[in-house]
Amino acid sequence: MPHARLCSFLGGGLLPLLLAYVCYLLLGATIFQALEKQAEAQSRGQFQFEKLRFLENYTCLDQRALEEFVQVIMEAWVKGVNPKGNSTNPSNWDFGSSFFFAGTVVTTIGYGNLAPSTEEGQTFCVFYALVGIPLNAVFLNHLGKGLRARLSALEGWEDQSRRSQILQMLGLALFVILGTVLILIFPPIVFSHVEGWSISEGFYFAFITLSTIGFGDYVVGTDPSKHYISVYRSLAAIWILLGLAWLAVVLPLGPLLLHRCFQLWLPSRSLSLKERGAPEADGLPTLQKLPVSA
């Protein structure tokens, strides 16, 4: 039975993959931290110095001095320094934040509120992304495929009684709804509560994040006036991974569920026969490509 083999294969293959994945993230966090932290402290000190000097001679301030000052603020902003705070702001490149950053690189979210500013950091980032993004994609694919294979292992589905069919459907639907509430609905509410956003802003943040667009206009754990618990950003990074994995599982599952529902209410064979014809024509080119690739 290919299914049993597939499942056992996934059970054996997924754990090392997951381990490698987490290790890769940790490695990236460490390296980014080592590369970026000093440069960040330096640019922060520079910013403070400029600000103090500005204050010293503001009595004879002119347009040009102001222009230069604005330029300084802009550069500080680009480098990830929040000009609103003072030099005691928590570092952007402590471990939790570096982990968060590595997560935004490999998931291709790329908020951009944090970006490497040193040459070494940028170079490393290029190669880190080149390896990490495929790794992330393989991982998510694998995860989605494994769960899907388990859930669609209802091959003798049509032979079962209607009662158990409905039970299975309900179980599946419950699973999907529960997971969605836990992973997609609950965390944005928590984020909006912690960050002081409105609920709609929280969901906007969640959507921009999980679609991996990542504008960076809303990012968790960036407000210098708030005191977050130390693992807050790491928790956020883990939520992102969970959310992406959940989407990889659920998005293909939705049509399957719909189709099963459809079959339950309209058990006419003619329909399914008609639909069976269509993918055949569609599918054959793939079959033809298959030996070329193998």
Partner: protein
């Protein structure tokens, strides 16, 4: 048929982008202008009061500047002198829509209005799958034309009696090099020249963009002194082509990773598939599940499929040119519905069968079948354009 579909798709995406650009412009421009005006007022007030600037005033001023930076207004210019440049003019709004549906999301101009955000959510929900389909089509075209060219070179190598294994490696390297030259090095020099970045900064921007990470610390065409209206749309077209190439590179790296972990199983992965799966699976699964008789993916058996029918092939189809037809014989032994339907995403994972991937799978196979299949490599190329037509006819006659 295929190229017209592709063109229609491209037109659809362009239309989609332009409509998105218009909506975003309408939604965001007033807000942006207001932010710019407010900033100008603050500056003016500050300047008037500056002989006796207090620390509090300064703090307020800095806060305003920071908010303006978050809102996309450029505090470097005053509101009157540079009124004609806007982050939401049509070209820039088009570029912004592009960063949404490619999921790059630079964030150098992000939405500030509630209506804009709501629209953005639905815009992305439709646009991202749409772009996935387009990317698959473009990548297919790009990959096959690149491989076509490389096939000619491969033929020359084979004429020189270079070992087939070496030719495989060479073609993989060539594929990477040609793509690199077209989509990484050329844009790098263009950006160096146009934006005044260093080489590293330009390469960093190219990679960050084409992997769709998109930090937004460097954005092409974002500086206010950039005047050419065609520049940002041109950048977007480069992104479209470059993404297809990078998807194939990333998939190749993913395959290497899989090979390293001894996962020789024929499984597709990678960025394209992920992007495509937003719809690829949505559409394919519905139809696929329609036939409950289809057995589960016989992943393990895939490597065995091609070698088996090969010996039987000459008997089956004598008049046709032999090498291109190699692709078809596997269909008789397996029920078409079964094996064909199990790889719906393979349709979109065109890139997975790029020459590089091929070489890896070749390594995973036993030696004999690979040697047998090696010689027909260059003439095999013409099978691709003909591919979709033939089986479809068959499907109709069935």
């Amino acid at each position: 048929m295929r190229s017209t579909t592709l063109l229609a798709l491209l037109a659809l995406v362009l239309l989609y982008l332009v409509s998105g650009a218009l909506v975003f412009q309408a939604l965001e421009q007033p807000h942006e202008q207001q932010a710019q005006r407010e900033l100008g007022e603050v500056r003016e007030k500050f300047l008037r009061a500056h002989p006796c600037v207090s620390d509090q005033d300064l703090g307020l001023f800095i806060k305003e500047v920071a908010d303006a930076l978050g809102g996309g207004a450029n505090p470097d210019t005053n509101s009157t002198s540079n009124g004609n440049h806007s982050a939401w003019d049509l070209g820039s709004a088009f570029f912004f829509s592009g960063t949404i549906i490619t999921t790059i999301g630079y964030g150098n101009a992000a939405l500030r209005t509630d209506a804009g955000r709501l629209f953005c959510i639905f815009y992305a929900l439709v646009g991202i799958p749409l772009f996935g389909i387009l990317l698959a089509g473009v990548g297919d075209r790009l990959g096959s034309s690149l491989r076509h060219g490389i096939g000619h070179i491969e033929a020359i190598f084979l004429k020189w009696h270079v070992p087939p294994e070496l030719v495989r490696v060479l073609s993989a390297v060539l594929f990477l090099l040609v793509g690199c030259l077209l989509f990484v090095l050329t844009p790098t020099f263009v950006f160096c020249y146009v934006e005044g970045w260093s080489k590293l900064e330009a390469i960093y921007f190219v990679v960050v963009t084409l992997t769709t990470v998109g930090f937004g610390d460097y954005v092409a065409g974002a500086s206010p002194n950039q005047n050419s209206a065609a520049y940002q749309p041109l950048v977007w077209f480069w992104i479209l082509l470059g993404l297809a190439y990078f998807a194939s590179v990333l998939t190749t790296i993913g395959n290497w990773l899989r090979v390293v972990s001894r996962r020789t199983r024929a499984e597709m992965g990678g960025l394209t598939a992920q992007a495509a799966s937003w719809t690829g699976t949505v559409t394919a699964r519905v139809t696929q599940r329609a036939s409950p008789a289809a057995p589960p993916p016989p992943e393990k058996e895939r490597p065995l499929l091609p070698p088996l029918p090969c010996p039987a092939q000459p008997a089956g189809r004598p008049p046709s040119p032999a090498p291109p037809e190699k692709a078809e014989p596997p269909s008789p032994p397996t029920p078409p519905t079964a094996s064909a339907l199990d790889y719906p995403s393979e349709n979109l994972a065109f890139i997975d069968e790029s020459s590089d991937t091929q070489s890896e799978r070749g390594c995973a196979l036993p030696r004999a079948p690979r040697g047998r299949r090696r010689p027909p490599n260059p003439p095999r190329k013409p099978v691709r354009p003909r591919g979709p037509g033939r089986p479809r006819d068959k499907g109709v006659s069935d």
